[in-house]
């Protein structure tokens, strides 16, 4: 009965309650949508990092990771890649030769990370092939095709079919160079990465670097589901003793840190919204108990305990807050769900975001844990907002309160 009384009390002043509920709804809706937006952006960034740049797992010589020196290759790397490719949950395993090189056009030159890949295997691991805006993926010419990004093409002032010269140190530390023809131009959402990554065929680069047959610096592995990555890491460690097997989180820990930090910022953001709402609700409830002073005096007179009156005010405040909170969560979820399937176009801020590796077409991502946490935060706000007004209410003296006009 106390619940019914509290609920009906909320609607005694409909306009005032609706104003409070609307304020809470808008606040929570904005909080949820912003969180879903930021989370969506982060997830897209991580997804891009895994699919385009890092892959789920990497096998390499630990000294290669530290020094990037050519001599720290995996002997028989392509054979090992073939064996790892057959493991369960492995969607693809691509052996790569990775060299620091200089790429030059007639106009200009720049340092890049040159990766020699087997096109068929690499396609199953990364999606660079899907990011082509011109040409083909390392096919079309018999010798020395090269794939560069649009950003680098612009920088070197070259086009599709242009010739470039790639200069590098071979295994014997001799300087060597070869001419390559641009067969494809790609563009990912991370322009900083694009500018420094150039792809050639494995065989072409192996010949140029004088590495032995089957040598590879990195075996990049894509899993069919990232949840299996840690399990596969253990399995591969036992199959490739002496080699370093790292997950994408270990290779690029900043991605997970940024994601975790972003979550914390978003909760902080919602907490600030709720803090602002908290004072509004306290103010409303203080007005409510002042207006109902006589009634509270009557309740005390007829024998309603102060504990029950306290509980009634708490219930009333929590229900008022939760009415706004629940509708805020509902509308925030609907809005976020809508943008899960419809991109938000941030291309007007495109350059800055792409430099940081973020996609300018963002879709939101919402998860149940966040909704539960926000709902609990709203409930807590309701309880906190009720404490002072409820305390004021139970301090009324019944005889005095009954004299209120």
């Amino acid at each position: 009965m106390l619940i019914a009384v509290s609920w009906r009390n909320i609607w005694r002043n409909r306009v005032r309650s609706l104003v409070v509920i609307t304020a809470i709804t808008l606040g929570i809706m904005a909080g949820i949508f912003s969180t879903a937006f930021m989370r969506g952006m982060m997830e897209q960034r991580m997804d891009t990092a895994i699919r385009t740049e890092i892959s789920n797992l990497r096998v390499q010589d630990s000294l290669f990771r530290k020094t990037s020196e050519l001599r720290y290759f995996i002997p028989g790397g392509t054979g090992l890649a073939g064996r790892l490719d057959t493991l369960p949950h492995v969607a693809g395993c691509s052996p790569r030769i990775v060299v620091q090189a200089m790429i030059s056009s007639a106009e200009s030159g720049t340092g890049v990370t040159l990766t020699g890949v087997m096109p068929q295997e690499e396609r199953r691991v990364t999606d660079v092939a899907e990011k082509l805006i011109e040409g083909e993926y390392l096919t079309g010419v018999r010798r020395n095709p090269v794939l560069i990004s649009k950003k680098l093409a612009d920088k070197l002032d070259i086009h599709l079919r242009s010739r470039v010269v790639i200069t590098l140190q071979d295994l014997h530390k001799d300087l060597t160079a070869a001419a390559f023809r641009v067969v494809g131009i790609y563009r990912t959402t991370n322009t900083s990465w694009d500018e420094t990554h150039v792809f050639v065929r494995y065989d072409d680069l192996r010949r140029l670097t004088s590495l032995p047959p089957e040598a590879a610096h990195v075996l990049a592995i894509r899993t069919d589901d990232d949840r299996f990555t840690p399990e596969l890491q253990e399995r591969i460690r036992s199959l490739a003793p002496g080699l370093e097997v790292l997950t994408w989180k270990e290779i690029s820990p900043e991605l997970t840190y940024i994601s975790a930090a972003m979550d914390q910022y978003m909760y902080l953001f919602i907490a600030i919204i709720l803090l602002a709402l908290l004072f509004g609700i306290i103010n409303t409830m203080l007005m409510v108990i002042l207006e109902r002073r006589k009634e509270i005096g009557m309740l005390l007179a007829i024998g309603m305990s102060r504990t029950r009156i306290y509980l009634m005010i708490i219930l009333e405040t929590v229900m008022l807050t939760m009415a706004g909170g629940v509708s805020g969560v509902l509308f925030g979820t609907l809005l976020a769900k809508h943008f899960e399937h419809h991109y938000i176009d941030l291309s007007m801020f495109g350059k800055g975001l792409e430099q940081l590796g973020y996609n300018t077409l963002v879709h939101t991502h919402i998860d149940l844990a966040m909704l539960i946490n926000v709902t609990l935060m709203v409930m807590l706000t309701g309880i906190l907002a009720a404490l002072y007004p409820a305390w004021k209410a139970i301090r009324y003296d019944p005889a005095e309160a009954l004299r209120t006009e």
Partner: protein, 227 residues
């Protein structure tokens, strides 16, 4: 048998500039089944007297003994609980909960007492029928006239099965027809069920119905007449 004993009851209101003795050394006793009016001019201490007897206001000195219990020796929490189970209140301004129907208003006090729902509903319906509101059970106070609201308040006061009912100027806001109606109901409840009523009033019609009239002036009892 005395149901209420009042011994040397004093209430003094003090502020920096003023000291008012609202109740001045009152000794009285009330028996079960009394139908008593406390009368006197404005400021004579009627409401303060009822508040002290009802445990709403703490006396400056003296004792209020209800059915052998010294009311003001109880702790504040126990006094609230004592009121819930022993004293019924009817207020001048009715003071019903506007969000509850007539039936729910009467039920509410039994809910506070922890009575089961079936019992609450049965008794609330019986009481509302007894005060002539059997056809307005589900009306909210805003849909009832002043007289009807006051009858709901009487039913609410009776619902907790109190030892006595304190009514502070119950007819002050009612027209003559509603006053007559309410007084007849209360008198019937008093005669038929032995409910003890103590009113404070200015109303000559209430005084006429009362079987005992206590007159206060400046916080003192200046007359105590039984008819």
């Amino acid at each position: 048998m005395n149901i209420i004993e009042i011994r040397d009851l004093v209430k003094i209101y003090e502020s920096e500039e003023i000291r008012v003795t609202a109740v001045d050394h009152i000794d009285l006793a009330f028996e079960k089944g009394e139908f008593t009016a406390v009368v006197g001019p404005s400021g004579s201490g009627k409401t303060t007297f009822l508040n002290l007897v009802g445990g709403l206001d703490r006396p400056s000195s003296g004792r209020v003994i209800i059915d052998g219990v010294d009311l003001w020796s109880l702790r504040p929490r126990e006094i609230i609980d004592f009121r819930l189970h022993n004293i019924g209140f009817v207020f001048q301004a009715y003071n019903l909960l506007p969000v509850l129907t007539a039936l729910e208003n009467v039920e509410f006090i039994m809910h506070l007492q922890g009575r089961p729902k079936e019992e609450r509903q049965r008794r609330a319906t019986e009481l509302l029928r007894a005060v002539g509101l059997g056809d307005r059970l589900h009306s909210r106070p805003s849909r009832l006239s002043g007289g009807q609201q006051q009858r709901v308040a009487v039913a609410r006061a009776l619902a907790s099965r109190p030892k006595f009912i304190l009514a502070d100027e119950p007819t002050a806001n009612l027209d003559s027809h509603a006053t007559e109606n309410l007084l007849n109901i209360m008198e019937r409840l008093n005669r038929e069920e032995g409910t003890t009523f103590i009113f404070s009033t200015h109303d000559a019609r209430v005084v006429k119905k009362a079987r005992r009239v206590i007159t206060l002036e400046d916080g003192k009892v200046i007359a105590d007449q039984r008819k």
